[in-house]
Amino acid sequence: MTGPTETAEAAPEPLGLGVDAARRREIVRARSAKSLARRRFRGRVAIGLCTVAVALSLAPLVALVVYTTARGVKALSVDFFTKLPTPIGIPGGGISNALVGSLVIVALGAAMAVPVGVATALFLLERPGRVAGTVRFAADVLTGVPSIAIGIFAYTVLVEPFAHFSGVAGSFALAVLMLPVVIRSSEAAMRAVPRTEWEAGLALGVRRGRVARSIVLRGALPGLVTGNLLAVARAVGETAPLLFTTIGSQFFNLNPGQPTAVVPLVIYTNGTSPFGADQQIAWGAAFVLLVFVLLLSVVARTVAARLSRHAR
């Protein structure tokens, strides 16, 4: 940044041929000592700033988690996990319907996204070419699509035509959200399986489907598990795709054809309520969601490490 100027401004004494060797050495030594001192000082300031940056990035994140935990734990009780929600503003009640609803909606979404995503990844691996390039490009573009847009899309194709909000529409939205992540992470995981192992299978006369199943999918299992679990962890916390699809519900519901309560929507509606009792529920739900999502990502990482050790 300031490279050339440093030496330019540090030349008060001429260092030409007229100066004798001893004097010259002296000047050079003094100059480099000065430069080194200055560079060290600058370095110390910059490293100090980096430390401040660490503090600045950790402070809000830690504060967020600690505060959510502190407020959330207070909201937890047996009722919180087993009871249905009370009407707005009335203390008590629980979010049992939303906990079950979230599990059902996300499981259904994963059941749609994972098979399609893994199959698409296999397609990308087996058919290199322009079509695969286009599909890959579409997956990359879809990764950047805002989740609210996916929610509106699911609304226009699965809610409007039936004039009926439903859990399936929400699952579909989550599946669309997960798909690009599943495709790209699965592709990366399967690409890591050595090409020679495919070829060995094919050379033995094994059918391609069998090679895909027994060699590629088996070898890529740790990566597949991690990628898909992380995709699920992301989907569990998504609110925008569910806002206009599953819409939320006050009742216990296992039928995905009906409007369903989900945890993120519980946090949104209760958190924006002016009543303290509702906000309490929101903190409790946020804490449960946070714990679930963090656990899922920890599991995803450790499972990958465990499985890949076994595979060796």
Partner: protein, 343 residues
């Protein structure tokens, strides 16, 4: 040109039997028959069906997304035309629909988020990857990686119930006192504001920013560092002149991704921005973004022109994120190689 010159067939590098064009397959009858038999087997067809089926379903979904949103918003674009982009009035009762307020809100909140998150994120990444001792760097890195999984709704809830009062009573009045920055921070300190939305977005994108930048920094070759060190660089100069320039592409990719997330976030922003449909005159003023406006206007809308206009907001948001992503890609591609350790 004599056509009858026999040229040796060009042999492509093949990895599977089926990639050989039929004309060039070994003319041994048995092999050919075996191949045909294999193809006729249900197993082979099943596998092909799985692959093509998966890719086909995905393609249909991707196309349907674009077509359905374009189709649903067409009457809005027909009604409002391009004034949809630069009219600042959103008044359904007068059938006046303009998204300028929301576009400005989206860009301003994203800019605030990036101004806060990029230097802090890159600084943190540099510290964790280059400067901190391992016993400190490893647990902190794992912690921040995990934070990337925190759902945005939780960040929004924290912003709404914890940060809003803090901003209203402490941060915003303080910022108003700073003389030079007055132009940015003036007006009433209410709490919900464009600034607060930017801060919440910054908290949301920070872990991603740190994690990706850290990976990029760690990927710089050891020899680059050693060379910079051997030239007499101090510890910081090695980071500043060798490592960060070497990781530039990766850091830019991290910024692009973070920007995409900040542009597209809707719920967390809707909780803290104040949802005022006027162009904010100051960072302390409430506003609205494309995403937050959709969250707030779509609920009561089911049919008619207004529904179409709201979906048009989604289309504008999509175009904006696509533009940013494409711009990011272009930036990465056209840039000359990272400048490396040149002084």
């Amino acid at each position: 040109m004599p056509d009858d010159v026999v040229r040796p067939p060009r042999v492509p590098v093949v990895t599977t039997l089926e990639e050989i064009p039929p004309a060039q397959r070994t003319p041994i009858a048995g092999v050919k028959e075996a191949l045909e038999r294999r193809r006729a087997r249900p197993g082979g067809r099943l596998y092909a069906g799985v692959r093509f089926g998966g890719a086909g379903v995905f393609a249909v979904i991707a196309v349907a997304l674009v077509v359905s949103l374009a189709n649903s918003s067409s009457s809005a674009f027909a009604h409002s035309g391009l004034s949809l982009l630069w009219s600042g009035t959103w008044d359904p009762t007068r059938k006046a629909f303009g998204a300028e307020t929301f576009i400005v809100g989206t860009l301003v909140t994203t800019a605030v988020a990036l101004v806060l998150a990029v230097p802090v994120g890159v600084g943190t990444a540099a510290f964790l990857s280059e400067l901190a001792p391992r016993w400190l760097a490893t647990p902190l890195s794992v912690l921040i990686d995990l934070m990337a999984a925190v759902p945005s709704i939780v960040v929004g809830l924290w912003g709404l119930l914890v940060l809003t009062p803090v901003f209203a009573h402490h941060v915003e009045p303080f910022l108003k006192e700073i003389p030079v920055l007055e132009w940015f921070f003036h007006g009433a300190a209410l709490g919900p504001s464009v600034l607060l939305a930017g801060v919440v977005l910054a908290v949301m994108i920070l872990p991603t920013m740190v994690a990706l930048s850290r990976t990029a920094l760690a990927g710089v070759a050891l020899t680059d560092r050693e060379a910079a060190r051997a030239l007499g660089g101090t510890r910081w100069q090695v980071v500043r002149r060798a490592v960060v320039p070497g990781a530039r592409t990766g850091i830019e990719a991290a910024v692009t991704l973070a920007m995409g997330r900040a542009l597209g976030e809707s719920i967390a922003v809707a909780m803290v921005i104040g949802n005022a449909y006027v162009i904010p005159h100051s960072l302390l003023a409430p506003g609205a973004t494309l995403g937050s406006a959709v969250v707030n206007t779509f609920g009561g809308v089911t049919t008619g022109l207004e529904r179409s206009e709201v979906i048009a907001l989604v289309v504008i948001l999509l175009a904006l994120t696509a533009l940013v992503n494409a711009g990011g890609q272009l930036l990465l591609r056209t840039r000359l190689r990272p400048r490396g350790a040149t002084p």
